[in-house]
Symmetry: C2
Subunit: 403 residues, 2 copies
């Protein structure tokens, strides 16, 4: 009679508990959490759920023929990968929020969906409650797309807002982000840019139909930010934001990277503060569109998962249409960037193969250089960057002339 | 081999010419304009298209078995209605941008789609290039939705920006909007709020699954704005924006109206200037999401039409799922509002049934009153408002406490 969609839920942390709450608030979802698999049954939770729902055996969900859909929000990419693959192989559709797992295994996960005629939805994996993936897949489905660029990580953005706008120190801002539940349990994911990177990999698949491996993409986070960087940005009247972007760069090529950027007032992402995410989608005919919303937190992420659950009621799946496009653009790192590098003692201008140096500032406390460098050279030297006390900020923009 | 989607295009004005351009820029759309029906074959056009494409006979498209899809962007709601109905009755899917026609005939158009097992898509009808309809239909498809509120008319917003931010006079701002192609050929549609109203009717169907007739909704435009209104707003540090909103107001009810509003800095829509549109979608768990983009103009609208054309390749249609929801909210106008009314000579406080008056200002040049009034009473008195030199501004917000 009441053909409820019966859900097997993996994970009952911040997001899992949010899903449990959101499903109970949405009668028109016709969804029911039938079983919850957790690693540690004894762990206390702030959200109450009937004890008989819980199990610590994965098979109790995967082997249950009464389960229509698996929702997977556990905090371990390897375990998540195994569960998702097992489910897809059995033809059980899955909704997942695990961006690291999805970004690393996307080609295989696409093949599994096709082979077993089932679906994996993961809109919640990128930008929490903002429907970026769905819109790129369904709406911006044309050759006009030029660039997707934005603040994809709520936690690092929250930290930058506290440090930058409220004068707090980095460590206390990070602790606050963790206490509020924005930060991943491993905060390096957020602050080193990996969370943004994984989201960018997923976005690029749905924006351009091309998969690029995370390890082939330049990623620089915010953990090495110094007071002098903040002072520099303030003097110039700009903010520092951790920005992920994928952009067509002409001749059938595109590039992508994750890097702090100096953002001028007037730019859409300038006003994206705290735990919010904001994504600018630029196209040839529609100029720029901006989507803005809560990108992190229990309930925003859970409401996005709910949208995926409801999409499954109508048998929605990603078609990955753009993978079959003619003239898909090709990933390139052979592209000049203008960057700011703040350094202390090491002679960065000698260590990095700048093609031109535009500014250099030297002082006992800290130095910086602004110069042009090829992205490929930057990637080749990332071991140097990660070993030293440097902070790298992108100052270039591919479509500046259009703004 | 190359299974192109063959389009019969009705209308070759600003938007029609944009569609012709955009389709040619998007090879992956696999779309082809096969025939263009115009009223006047002799009219010169700025975009060149081969002469043999044109016809002035509707039947040349409707009777052509080689046409897969009709795209209708003519500027006449009655003619549009006839073409769309005829096409749907023949089972030919239609993409339309005609908000007036759709808003007035939505229940019948939904029935026709079901009866003849075909589709009518109209994402371009609301907010040009911003995918509001599609997202409400597919993504915010749950009970959590609280409110959709925004600036839905690019032309009136452009005029308000010119008048308000640039100190231009109303007439020259309107002329500029028309010259730039933002304004409808009948500018009263834009400036009297009807364009926003029609979009709001369509949005409400996809947001809440309920159809409300345009004539049952309070609509007040911007044509009667005076210098004293602008001065008042400036003194208070707010902007005047023409805002359309639909909001749940408790006890299973919702309300909706189109009215100028005093918008404070910090509100998302405060920064929506010029011909841009911005829509805030508020939900119980995801707080507020903001979508922002070009809402008017040839190419932005055409790119939205292109998204609908491409959606038809995958047999996409609106399911109108929310029409079948349990406990759909019920439209009410029995709701208190606090409004500002600027008037000249007539004693507005005596003419309108305010339940409370909070402020009154009298001077030789102009007067205003701020008071509480029931929306139903405001609707009952709209003949008075339209006959007099008054300007009405909403000062209430249903979810102020959540911001």
């Amino acid at each position: 009679m009441d053909n409820k969609i019966r859900i097997g839920l993996f994970g009952f942390g911040v997001v899992g508990q949010g899903i449990y709450q959101v499903v109970s608030k949405a009668p028109n979802a016709h969804a029911e959490i039938r079983r919850i698999c957790v690693r540690n049954l004894a762990k206390p939770r702030s959200v109450e759920a009937p004890g008989e729902l819980f199990t610590d055996r994965v098979a109790d969900i995967l082997d249950d023929p009464g389960i229509d859909l698996i929702v997977e929000v556990i905090d371990n990419a390897d375990a998540s990968y195994k569960i998702v693959c097992d489910a897809l192989r059995r033809g059980i559709p899955v909704v997942s929020g695990n961006k690291a797992m999805i970004a690393r295994h996307l080609p295989e996960l696409i093949a599994l969906q096709q082979e077993h005629d089932t679906a994996l939805l993961y809109d919640a994996s990128s930008c929490g409650s903002i429907p970026v993936i769905r819109n790129l897949e369904e709406y911006y489905d044309n050759d006009l797309l030029l660039e997707v660029k934005g603040i994809l990580n709520g936690s690092s953005n929250y930290i930058l807002s506290r440090v930058f706008d409220h004068g707090e120190d980095y460590a206390s801002a990070l602790a606050k982000a963790q206490a509020l539940g924005f930060a991943e349990s491993d905060p390096t994911f957020d602050i080193e840019g990996y969370d943004s990177l994984f989201k960018l990999v997923i976005i690029t698949m749905h924006a351009l139909g091309v998969y690029v491996r995370p390890e082939d993409i330049f990623t620089f986070g915010i953990s090495s930010i110094h007071d002098s960087d903040i002072r520099y940005a303030r003097e110039k009247g700009v903010k520092i934001k951790l920005v992920a972007q994928v952009a067509k760069v002409g001749n059938g090529r595109f590039t992508m990277f994750v890097m702090p950027e100096f953002v001028r007032p007037g730019k859409y992402i300038y006003s994206v503060d705290d735990e919010y995410n904001g994504v600018v989608i630029r196209g040839e005919c529609y100029d720029r569109q901006f989507m803005f919303g809560k990108g992190a937190g229990s309930l925003p992420t859970a409401s996005s998962i709910l949208s995926d659950i409801m999409a499954r009621r109508h048998d929605y799946r990603y078609e990955y249409k753009k993978m079959h496009y003619i003239d898909r653009p090709v990933y390139t790192t052979d592209i000049p960037l203008r960057i700011y590098v703040r350094y202390s003692s090491t002679p960065i201008p000698d260590l990095l193969p700048f093609t031109a140096i535009h500014e250099q500032y030297l002082s006992a406390e800290s130095c910086y250089v602004i110069g042009d460098i090829n992205l490929a050279d930057l990637i080749a030297h990332r071991h140097i960057l990660s070993a030293l006390d440097v902070f790298v900020v992108n100052t270039s923009s591919f479509f500046e002339h259009l703004d």
